[in-house]
Symmetry: C2
Subunit: 448 residues, 2 copies
Amino acid sequence: MKRTYIADLKDHVGQEVTIAGWLYNKRSSGKVRFVLVRDGTGICQATAFKPELDPAIFDLCDSLDQETSITVTGVVKAFEKAPGGFELGLKNLAIVGVSKDYPITPKEHGVAFLMENRHLWLRSSRQHAIMRIRHQVIRAVRDFFDDQGFTLIDSPILTANACEGTSTLFETEYFGEKAYLSQSGQLYNEAAAMAFGKVYCFGPTFRAEKSKTRRHLTEFWMVEPEVAFMDLEEDMDLAEAFIEFVVQRVLSRCAPELKVIERDVTKLANVKRPFPRLRYSDAMTFLAEKKAEFAKSDDEELRKLSADILKNGPGDDLGAADETAIGMSHDRPVMVHRYPAAVKAFYMKNDPADPNFALCVDVIAPEGVGEIIGGGQREEDLSVLEGKIAQHGLSGDAFKWYNDLRRYGSVPHSGFGMGIERMVGWVTGAHHVRETIPFPRMMEKIWP
Amino acid sequence: MKRTYIADLKDHVGQEVTIAGWLYNKRSSGKVRFVLVRDGTGICQATAFKPELDPAIFDLCDSLDQETSITVTGVVKAFEKAPGGFELGLKNLAIVGVSKDYPITPKEHGVAFLMENRHLWLRSSRQHAIMRIRHQVIRAVRDFFDDQGFTLIDSPILTANACEGTSTLFETEYFGEKAYLSQSGQLYNEAAAMAFGKVYCFGPTFRAEKSKTRRHLTEFWMVEPEVAFMDLEEDMDLAEAFIEFVVQRVLSRCAPELKVIERDVTKLANVKRPFPRLRYSDAMTFLAEKKAEFAKSDDEELRKLSADILKNGPGDDLGAADETAIGMSHDRPVMVHRYPAAVKAFYMKNDPADPNFALCVDVIAPEGVGEIIGGGQREEDLSVLEGKIAQHGLSGDAFKWYNDLRRYGSVPHSGFGMGIERMVGWVTGAHHVRETIPFPRMMEKIWP
């Protein structure tokens, strides 16, 4: 069948075309029927005038149910008020597949119901727009690294060693041995950086966490760059350039989708370098001030938040309330660096200026999104690294190959990881990450 | 540290720069030392003249071991005979990290040894070139679909239902339930095609097959497009346009890498549309002729192959020898279509012209690579599909959501899947797929 996509109608004004899609909506007014068709690339209004049509075709327009698949033939006209800016003067219409009692109607549905029907919910305009933005985020991520000469080195999903404890790992039997689903490609990335200089990996990662928050998925996509001869300061430069690029790309390419989801784009327009850089110790001072300030607020929400700020106590990782307080106080992401070494992973390099702190950075997004990037400089000294592995109670054998990277031409190196779903959550303003991935996997959700 | 990448030296002719990398090789000739440095973006020769240098620096050049990490400072000169076309007049050199007894030396090593040292083997020029080509293949794949308006819809890895039997599935516990690692995103892709029109997914897939052939990995990357309102003929059009695009892109962008691995590129230059299209029944006739022809050959290899041709018997799937015979008899991929329905998956649509055959296609690459694409048109009729699900002994419940796609506006639709590693194996001429992925996973290989 020769069919024209709705996104291409602009190239066919005055021509007769056939579009193929699904009934999105219909309206009727006297002798006129408006048939709205969606084909995945756009929505098009086809207008049927009773006096000009075979009565059977006209009646067919009235009989269509929501999501019936149809082909519609007609002449393309520019019409500013129509969705997409073009409409079809309907000449013919045929039903391809019926649709009786389509479960998702224009009325409000509960989230549980929509999640059970995720395979259909994706057809809805808001979910459609979010997924299109997700695609552009992913494309921007790849373009950013590809255009700067990074080599994509896919890290494995199935791994033999449980690098940071098994409590949050999915386990599988691998021909009689135990294997685990990867939580991060970083260790492999470090090997790749020594071979290719600048690398990134980008794939699904897995955490068997018993978390039910709006920020957690058990399966999510993560991009992780790693660069040889790069220190923490340059790592932060890379992270802020990267975030700016992705956000600005979405703004420039996804205007129609951002409009559909009614995103306040002024909040994204600000996302330009430089981002504030805050030492962990200064972040603590900042948070203590905010805690005091919010406690006195007339706003009950802020008083509640105040109670949760600095709950973890000094020397600990930041909590969700801490990240919220930092995020809401800035109009662009904040880079908090040099956390206490004790709360960070074994591979982080200690700050030579004060070894109690690690050369690491978390990037905290505004609008309550929380951490979107975690990264830092890696320990490159073999004996220090071996000491840390022992100190963390990890098996030395499992790290033999990883330690080789320090045996044969070790170099300073740094990188970071960014979770795609949190990034999409931020740029779309989706409150819950479950809407930012086509088929979300959560503690109680593995279907459809 | 201000450092210049070797790939960028062309922009710095006449300037003093510092490059940072690893000792790739060195040569000595009287008062001259040639220090070859690799930094992942290229290889650069730095030339040290004894009379012009601090004696300590000159001696350092002699002391360097393979893979020692170093920084080298000097002035960039164009020099056609040098690797990459530029060399550095060495002014300074510093060791960053030593490298004693680097295990991979220029002498020959066994594959088992190299695979155990995969984290280091990636630094070797051949492996480096193959991975760079892999990156360009992946980039070409994404560009092809992105530029044609496809939406990327990542399918989930963790799935609750074992769609085609559990014998080759990796299983994991999912918060008290059983879950499986995906073998294909196709079912999800079909849902996505009904929402977005043209979609693709692209991620790792898993097969717990007890195969030890050079064509099998347990973890491999697959790209799968799916298009609503597309029939088998258009599916074949898409597949051949796609393969041509990817191969020609590699030829145009990876000339240096193809040279490193000594690939005969004349065999790839032919890969232009149209590709031969062969019905399964005609393929059977063709194979019978080849079997007879090869049996009489003077070439022992061909006589051996002859014995294995058509071993499966008529009505069965093609075997490896069949694919080899078809591939070696053509200078570009061959599309074999309309296999017996009985040997294909339940979701394939039967050919209305003869329901014993399925509207499917396998694309067989030349040079003994075998099948690189499998695809076809999907059954869109609910009652026929339900019959097939029952006939295959599959649980109807597991497919409730999938069947919904036939309940609510079903349309004809088609797609295919291409394994990235076989594609990379073909374009690079790598004999074994283990060299086409950074960290291969095979039956007896999950480390490093």
